[in-house]
Structure formats: structure tokens, C-alpha cells
Amino acid sequence: MKRVATDVGGTFTDLVHFDPEAAPGSSIVCAKVDSTPPGFEHGVMNALAKTQIRGEDMDFFVHGSTIIINTLTERKGVKTALITTRGFRDVLEIARGNRPDLFNFRYRKPEPLVPRYLRREVTERIDYKGNVLTPLKTGELRPLVDELRVEGVDAIAVCFLHAYRNPDHELAAVREIQRLWPEVAVIASHVLSREWREYERTNTTAAAASVQPVAYGYLSGLEASLADRGFSKSAYVMLSNGGIDTFAAVRNKGITMVESGPAAGVFGAATLGRLTGTQNLITLDIGGTTAKCSLIENGRVRLTNKYVLERTPRYAGYPLLVPVVDIVEIGNGGGSIAWLDDAGKLRVGPRSAGADPGPAAYGRGGKDFTTTDAHLLTGRIDPGHFLGGEIKVDLDAMNEAAGRLCKVMNVSREELARGVIRIANNNMVNALKLVSLNRGYDPRDFSLVVFGGGGGLHGTDLARTLQIPEVIVPVNASVFSCWGMMQTDLRRDRIVSVPLVLAVTNASEVDTTFRKLEMQLRAELESDRVDTAGLGFQRMLDMRYEGQEHTVKVDVPDRLINAEVVEQIQEKFRDDYEREYSYRLSSQIEVVNFHVAAVVPVEQVMPAKPGKTGRGVKDCIRSERQVDFGPLDVHRCAIYERALLEPGMLIEAPAIIDEPDTTIVVDSGRARVDDFGNIRIEV
């Protein structure tokens, strides 16, 4: 099966084409072209043109995009209204009242996604058991819809209290709105989330409505362009839950692709692990502005249903109740700016120079000293081959940016650069700890997979600090997300709040609930004309000790749940809980959410192993230079050209391995090129 994966980012559009029948060494073709906002589909077409891929060269097309998250963060969604339960239209604005920036008495809360004059109420009320207290007054919708039409609204979010339990009123309201105004986009909360907490669900629905016409137009446009190119097979979208789904399904639920790119990266790492037999991985993706990390245990990627858009330690952000790969993100990347706070202390990030003006060394007017500048100053990045030689390093600008800090701190430029790298590393170590140590995982049991432009520069240092034995720098690290997408299974998640006590006496209720969810998912897939051959289900329960609030997600076997299985689940919960929180209780266990993932597996890609020419490792050395390895001192070391490396080669530290868009620092231990061309460093 010939496959194409494309990933649209704010700056670049990546493409990977895989043809299992092509000659070895040419089975994988990669391309990077400029993104083309606002018509992003043109970038995709340009990438296909560049690689001369025709419609008939593709049996399978998968697509990831930052369009949804960018639409949300740039507030470029359509004009959206909210219809909610009478008495509760201000829930969206009052939110939870918290102000995470504790010592800032001028804290500004996130602006509500729907302004108050477009938040409307109808008479209806359902209680927490799903009983109707006040029937929906459907007649109230007509004048309301007329007003919203006059206001020029393009989308309507419908969210009623306790609709996660009983969606009847939402369904009736949506039907009526569609009858009155067929052209408007409308989405109800229960379609997106069956979890309680009205502010979070209302916000999710408002966000989803505001991007829905955008997603619809975008995916329809892309589909049409693909058809023009002669493509007639299945097209899929990469979702934040780490699965793919059909264009048709995602078109009406665009919000589910909010973290499409990062999710693909994590799944790419999981695939790499499967291919190379490394099941326990910590992933680290270092870009220009942020570093994102996640943990994969036994090949399983962790999901969260508590995703919050734009949250920082000092900003509450916007909760979105959609399943998203559990990623910890911090504001430290290549463009992160080094600065001195009010009392003269050195800090790095979270402010970033981004791509424009970029680090001082870009010579595009950036006045700030960044992490990338520190790598250049220490000789880790080759000034002669910066970004594959595309950018000529502006040493004067870089030295001037460094000089300003050096003067105040009274340190040399070299000391400054070392300091910046150490602080950046420490920030990343804390993020890596959050996904590992803080959850009871021992980093010594994992390998660190690094990708993105900056992964190879920091990986070994971080691994040493956390005693992670091995760093893996995958082949094609810069288009890694596409690689992940190409082998992602079709996946739909459904999470439903059904609080109950987990006891052997209600094993059959647990079993029935799972089966009902699975039947619904199967029916939905079939009605979307998805080929369900090979369909399997992953079952999870969000559980807690009776009386607690917060839950732990526990995997549940996909078979008949009887008393014995319930006991196993209880034991598994107690074990998982103890690993994370260091104690176990004998008290009763409650289930809060049932979570089922329907998975239709996609045939795995087996890339051809690169051949060997018998070239010696010495022949891969491009040059030599002085490199400052920080705490490991300054060494004159060899610079290797990654493109020339072949499987089986060994490189002893200290060394630098260069690629056009990334640099790999081998400052201790040794690096080995594995059968697939990945670089594995024992630190």
C-alpha cells in the first residue's frame, strides 16, 4: 500500500511518501515546503507536486494540521453563539473563579470565547440523574434563532446542564435550530463530551462551534484538491487522541484535531519503539518555542481528558474535554530568550524570539540572546553549516546580544552560553520529571527519544541527569510527525461518566456498560462506512477510592467482565495508585468514567533497511572543531555528516553529528547507528 502523510505547521508543510514496492533506499521520500496560509491546502498540493506524487500513487492519505489550534489561539474562529440552560449563561465567563497567577492582583481571566450578548438561555432543566425537572420550551428557540441570524452568527454551541447524563434536550434543541436555520453550524455538548463540569463542557462546546465551519471548509477544500489530483482512496485526519479518522467524521468535530501534530510525534515514537523493540520511551520534541514531552510505557501512549488550551502555571487557559495525548509542554525551545529578572538573575524562556526575528545569530534584527545562540557560541552548532548553510550566522549581532547580559552579570560570553544551556536543560529536566518520576516511573527503565530541531542538542545531557541509559535520535527526525501519522490506527474514543461502586456484585453492569459503548461505536463506524474488519476495543476505567475526587485511568481487559475480572481490575487499580501515590487502601473503589477506544488497525510500515557501502566511519567526518561541552569541558572533536553514516557504525564521544536541520551532541558514551539508520547513544 502506497501511503502519504502530510503535516501542516505554521511555518512548514512536511510530507512523507512510503512505497513498499520501490527500490530499497528510495521507499521513503520526504519533502518540506513553505506553508501557505490562509489556504493551507495549497502547501499540501505544492509538497505533492515537488515530490511528483500523483493521485494514483496514493492508496492511503493521512493529514495532520495546526489549523485548529491556530484558529483558536489567534481567535480567528467564526462568530459563535451559545444557547444554554436558563440562569446559567454567565458560567462561561465566571468560569471557576481561580487565578493561578497568585501574586498578580491585576490578573486577567481568559476572555470568554462567546461574548455575553451572544450567550442566550432557554427554559429547561435536567437533574444529575438525568430526570427532567423542567421540559424544554422549544418554542423559545424561534425568536432566539432569528436574533442570532440578525447578529450574523455563523455557529451555535448548545450546552445544557447535566446533558452528559441525558442529552434529550440538547438533541431536541439542535433539531429545532437546524429546522429553523439549516445553514448554521450547530454542535451540542454531549457529542463532544459525556463528562460532568458545566464550565469545562460549555467552553469545549463553544470552542468546537467556533472552529467547526473552519474545519469543514478546510477539509472539504483539501478533499476537492486531492480529487483534482486523481486521488480516489481513503483520506484520514490525525487526531489529538493519537488516532486517525475519516475526513467525513472529523469535518463535523474539528476540535478533535486540536493537538494533531504533537500527538503524531508521540505516536511516531511509539511506532519506532515497536519497530526496534524498545517499549518504554520518554519522548522529547524540542521546537523553536517549546519543548513537549510524554511517556510511553509498554508501547502504550497515555491520554488525558483534562487538556487545557494555553494554560501556563500563571494562566488558567481554556479547558477542552477531548481526549488528548498526555503531553507536558514548557516554554523552552531553540528561540527561548535569556534574560535577567528585576534582581539580576539569569532566566531562560518562556518568551521566544520565534522564527522572526529569530535568534540574534539569524541577523534578522533579533536583539536577544537565545538558546540557539548559546549553542553556536559553544561550537555545538557549526556556524558554517547553520540550518544546512541556508543562513549565514551574524556573529556581531550574536556577540552584541551576549555582551549586554555579560556586562550586567560580569561573566564572559562563554560562561554566559554555558549558563544558558544549563538553565534550559534544567527547565527541561523538570518537565521530564513531571511525566516520569512524579508519576512513579523510574527514568532508568526508559529510553529517551528526541526529535524536533533541538532534540539532539540537549538529549544526552538530560539523559545523564535523569540516569536514562539511552538516547535515540530517529532517522528523518525533522519530519517525524508524518512518519508517526502514517502508521497510526483509526481510533475513536468515547468517555462517559457513569459513577458506580466497583464491586463483584455489579460485574455484569460494568460488562453491559462497556458492551453498550462498544456497540454504539461500532454502529457509528459502520454508518460512516469505515471498514470495520479488524476492529478492536481498548477499555479503560477512570477510578478512585470511594470519597475521593481525582481518578486514575486503569486498563481493563477486553473480555467478559465477571466477578474474577472485577477483582483483577481492583487489584490493578490499587497497584497503579500505589505506584503513583505510594500507599494503598482497602476501602471501596469507585468508577467515574467508562472509556472505550475503538481501534481499526492500519497495516504497519516496515521501512527498508538502508544498505551499506562498506564506507569507514572516518570517511563520514566533515571537519573538526573546538566544542564547549559545558560541565564536560572543552574538546577538539570530529564533526560527522549524518547523511553518510551507515548501520553498524560506532562513534565515540566527544563528537558532533550534523544534519541539515539538526545537530546531535555526543558528549559522553558512544553512538551507534542501528539497522534502520536511527542513532542510539549510550550515555
Partner: protein
């Protein structure tokens, strides 16, 4: 902490810096600071995720911090600011109560809740674990003070106690864990004094687990960097905090600035209690003077000195702390002066259940004082309260006792940086109010409404945040202790801005009768009644006539204000 005391006046200062003779590496310092903050955050996360009471996991009514051996704050997880500056008092008192430093062993956890040591009411119970390295060196303390649902008092929540012994059971520094082992006698004794022992038992375990996680992480940090490097970097961290606050006050003209506050009453007598706080700036130092405070009160609005000190430090940190999480160094330039046996420094057995209300208000009074010299630096007054409601009752179907308490947001004052929002009072910034869907599933009520009230904000160039109404319709008979404060005084505006709506409460009985309430202990709320809090708005900042006309129009369109309000405050439209 260094206390200078004569018979009448007490002065509180943080310990001055010590010169370790060596200069710690600035980068190392930054790394240790991060690691300490991360350790404190992990304590917080553990407590939230393992606790059994909404007041902890939803409301986040606790503070978690790490201290060095001199009981100087190393790091604190973002939690209730007002608790922040009291934990050092708790550590000192707990250690002293349990027999002093020499009596500490690895694995000990001390329980302490005497209000005149913790600064809080009896329910806020501190757990302190001394932290030892493997070789037996004491390197600091891991501490959490958290709100327990009930630990015995005349009611689960009180507004009219006459002495502290009506307010709960006290643990004057007893070891709940000795050498890592739970002391069963103490544990049983504690639970026997609670109306809700199951919740309390779960929260005790969560709290003990969280302090031990803090202790383990502190040891890890000391081991990693070595004790000497650790101590040197800590000095640098403190110096940095001190420098931040000093650089702020250097820019403020020297002088004495007076802020005015007003408590509605003391919960027992229904007389307003005016008070003032004097903020005196001299060079890079600041003195917060409470010596003019009213006499100790016969009702529970007395604020034990630890919370007076804490409120002052929080207020100053918010003003001058460079938006950082504070450490002990931030407090060095700040001196707090109180008068013994006054409302802000009561002696036992003065009642102090509502200690938080004067403390909270004193923060805004400090800003009020600072506004005299520099109104641009502070916001106008908020609703000035938590509008907290504490509920309890017996469930009809199970016969079990239930209880819950929650604070609610208020409108916040406008400031030079824009309109005010509706959110929690600054003293409780980290807390949030519970989801109504979740509340309805646990407690016998249906929420009737939660919506802004037009014209409840103070007018101004930058208007205040909105007040709102939140109503609960009871499905079973229950009791409620409302604790409304600042119902008699409207939130002030600044620099020409207008006043906002004050807080109030109403109870509508099933027969249609409506009664107002403010503070009440155990108010019976029968089935079918609707209890509503009318949360206050925030004061405006700057002359209303300077508000941009498009902003006024937007407020009208959004329904924040009526046309009458616009005409009255903003003139011709």
C-alpha cells in the same frame, strides 16, 4: 523569625541574610530554586489527587511548603496566599510543642492546630515533618496546613463563638507518626472528635503522604548538590527575593500612608468595626503598623498574629514581589507591628473562628494606604469577601451526615491595567469554586441561577468586575452557615472611580417569605427554600467620564449595565 517584644507592642521581621563567605554559582542557584519549587508543587499535587474533601481537592484550601532548619521558607506551592506566611509559625510552634528540635526523629509527623500558633481556626491543621538526610542530619521541614471538614466545635462552621474553646479540638504539637509509624492512640482520638470522621481520616492520610513526598524530595535535592552547596544557594535565593522587594520600595516616596477598613460586625454584637492600617515606607523598607487596631473582640473576628503577619506579607509580595513566588528573603524588608490583645493580635482564649475575614480585608486596606501615594500601583476595592457558605444536614435516604463548604468569587476592582474581573478574593487566589453539576450530584440542592447582575460594578474609566447572584433550591432540610462580610460598606473606587454593589444574602421560604442574612451559625434552610448570595462587584478606577464611549456601548450591548446606569455615570450617550 525575629520577634522584638515589649509589654504592649510586638514587631515581626524575617531573619536577616547570613554571609556564607562563599558566593554560590548563579546558575546553580537558579537550578536549586526550580527544584525546590518543583518539590513543593509535587506535595500540592499529591494532596489534591488523594484527598477526600471538596474543600481540599476543589477549593484547594491548604498550603504546602518546604522550610530550612532556621524555618525560613524555601519554596511554596501556589495555594492559598493567606496561608502562605503562616506556615513558619506552625513549624516553630509544632516543633516546640512536641518537645523541641532535639526530640525529633526521622519519620515523625507532628500535628498542630492551636490558633494562636497557626494563625487560623482549629480546622486548619498543620502537619509538619522534620526532614533528615540518610546520615541523620536535619536539613529542614516539610509542612502542610489544610482545612479539615470538622474537628469538633459548637457547629461545623461558626460565626458567633465567644471563646476559642467553642471552636474545635486542639492538637498542641503531638506526634501523629513517630519514626514513620502511625500513633494509633492519637489517630483514634482525632477521629473521635469529628462529626465527619471518614472524610477526615482520608484527608489525614493524603496530607501525611504529601508531607512525606515533600521530605523525600528535599533530601533528594540536598543529596544531589551536597549540603554546603545547598546552603549557599539558599542564601542566594533569599538575597534575590530581598533585592526584588527593596528595589520596589526604593522608588516609593518615604512617608506614612493610612488605609481604612470596616468590618460589618464581630458576629456577636451587631456594631460595625472601623479599623486602619498604617503603611510606612522608609528607603527600601516598609513597616505595616496595626497598633491602631480595635480592642480584642468578643466575637470570632479576631485575627491571631500569624495571619496578621501573613496577610501583610502577601499584600506586600503582590505589590512588590516582581510577580514571583515568595521566599523568606522577600519578607526581609517588611516589618509588621501589632499591639497585644487587639483584634489583629488577640490573646487566648479570644474567639477567632472568622480570623480570615479581618486578615483578608487588611490586605485591601494596605492597598488602600498605598493608593494614597500611588493609585496607579493598586486596584480599586473588590467585593472584599469570599461569600462562603458552609452546609450540612442528614441525608433522608441514608441517614448519613453530609457537609460541604465553598468560597465564591466576587467582582474585582478596576485598575490602571483595565476593567476588573469576577474571581476569587486575592487572599484565596488559588481556590476555585466547585462545579454546579458536581455539587448537585453530592448535595441535596438544585442550583437555580448563576448570573451577573446589571449595574453591580463600580463605574470608572476602568470599571469594576461584575457582581452576580447564585441561588440554591433545597431538596431536603439542611443547615447553612453563611459568613457574608462587607455587606454594610460598598467597595470603594479609586482615582475618581465609583463604588460597587456590596454583598448580601436572601433566603426565600417555600411560603414566599424573603429574609435577608449576612453571618449566621446553622441557619435552618427547609426543603423548598431558595438561598441566594448576591455577590458584590468591584470598585471602578479613574473618572467615569474618561471611559471610552465604545467601552460604554460595549457594556450596554453585553448587558453589564443598564441605560440608566450609563446616563448616571457616563453622561450623554
Amino acid at each position: 523569625m525575629d520577634t522584638l517584644a515589649d509589654s504592649e507592642i510586638r514587631i515581626y521581621r524575617a531573619l536577616p541574610g547570613t554571609d556564607t563567605g562563599t558566593d554560590a554559582d548563579p546558575v546553580q542557584t537558579e537550578i536549586v530554586r526550580h527544584s525546590l519549587n518543583s518539590a513543593a508543587n509535587q506535595m500540592k499535587r499529591t494532596l489534591i489527587r488523594t484527598s477526600f474533601s471538596p474543600v481540599i481537592y476543589e477549593v484547594l484550601d491548604f498550603a504546602a511548603a518546604l522550610y530550612d532548619t532556621k524555618v525560613r521558607l524555601l519554596a511554596q506551592a501556589p495555594s492559598i496566599p493567606l496561608f502562605m506566611g503562616t506556615l513558619n509559625f506552625c513549624v516553630e510552634a509544632a516543633v516546640e510543642g512536641s518537645g523541641g528540635v532535639d526530640n525529633l526523629e526521622p519519620g515523625d509527623v507532628i500535628l498542630y492546630n492551636w490558633p494562636f500558633g497557626t494563625g487560623s481556626h482549629a480546622q486548619d491543621t498543620a502537619m509538619i515533618q522534620p526532614v533528615f538526610t540518610d546520615d541523620g542530619t536535619l536539613v529542614g521541614y516539610s509542612a502542610i496546613k489544610a482545612h479539615w471538614l470538622d474537628i469538633g466545635a459548637i457547629a461545623p462552621y461558626c460565626t458567633d463563638t465567644k471563646d476559642v474553646f467553642q471552636e474545635g479540638t486542639f492538637f498542641p504539637g503531638v506526634k501523629l507518626y513517630r519514626g514513620g509509624k502511625l500513633v494509633d492512640d492519637i489517630h483514634r482520638f482525632v477521629l473521635a472528635n469529628s462529626r465527619m470522621p471518614a472524610f477526615v481520616a482520608g484527608d489525614i492520610l493524603a496530607q501525611a503522604t504529601a508531607v512525606s513526598i515533600g521530605a523525600r524530595n528535599l533530601v533528594r535535592i540536598v543529596d544531589r548538590y551536597g549540603l554546603e552547596v545547598f546552603r549557599n544557594t539558599v542564601e542566594r535565593i533569599f538575597d534575590h527575593g530581598e533585592a526584588t522587594v527593596r528595589s520596589y520600595f526604593e522608588k516609593i516616596p518615604d512617608g506614612r500612608y493610612v488605609g481604612h477598613g470596616m468590618m460589618d460586625n464581630n458576629g456577636v454584637d451587631d456594631k460595625p468595626i472601623p479599623f486602619n492600617v498604617i503603611v510606612e515606607v522608609r528607603g527600601s523598607s516598609v513597616r505595616v503598623d496595626f497598633t491602631n487596631s480595635p480592642e480584642v473582640q468578643p466575637g470570632p473576628v479576631n485575627c491571631p498574629v500569624a495571619s496578621t503577619v501573613s496577610a501583610s506579607r502577601v499584600a506586600i509580595t503582590m505589590l512588590a514581589g516582581g510577580n514571583q513566588a515568595p521566599c523568606d528573603g522577600h519578607f526581609r524588608p517588611v516589618e509588621i507591628v501589632t499591639r497585644r490583645n487587639s483584634m489583629f493580635d488577640p490573646n487566648p482564649p479570644a474567639p477567632c473562628f472568622l480570623y480570615g475575614w479581618p486578615a483578608m480585608q487588611s490586605m485591601e486596606v494596605i492597598y488602600h494606604a498605598m493608593s494614597k501615594v500611588n493609585p496607579e500601583t493598586v486596584p480599586a476595592c473588590s467585593g472584599g469577601d469570599l461569600c462562603a457558605l458552609v452546609w450540612w444536614g442528614t441525608r433522608q435516604d441514608t441517614g448519613e451526615m453530609w457537609g460541604d463548604g465553598s468560597p465564591f468569587p466576587v467582582g474585582h476592582g478596576g485598575s490602571i491595567s483595565g476593567d476588573g474581573s469576577t474571581m476569587m478574593h486575592a487572599a484565596e487566589a488559588a481556590t476555585r469554586f466547585a462545579s454546579m453539576e458536581v455539587m448537585e450530584s453530592k448535595f441535596p440542592w438544585v442550583v437555580e441561577q448563576c448570573q451577573f447582575v446589571q449595574d453591580s460594578c463600580g463605574a470608572g474609566k476602568y470599571r469594576g468586575g461584575m457582581g452576580y447572584d447564585l441561588g440554591f433550591e433545597l431538596l431536603e432540610d439542611a443547615y447553612c452557615t453563611p459568613t457574608l462580610e462587607r455587606t454594610r460598606t460598598r467597595p470603594w473606587g479609586l482615582a475618581g472611580g465609583g463604588e460597587a454593589r456590596a454583598n448580601s444574602g436572601t433566603l426565600r421560604y417555600p411560603d414566599g417569605r424573603v429574609e435577608a442574612f449576612t453571618k449566621a451559625t446553622g441557619l435552618p434552610v427547609p426543603k423548598g427554600a431558595v438561598l441566594t448570595i448576591h455577590a458584590g462587584g468591584g470598585g471602578g478606577y479613574g473618572p467615569p467620564e474618561q471611559r471610552a464611549s465604545e467601552e460604554v456601548e460595549a457594556d450596554l450591548k453585553e448587558g453589564y449595565i443598564t441605560e440608566a446606569f450609563a446616563r448616571e455615570h457616563y453622561g450623554n450617550l
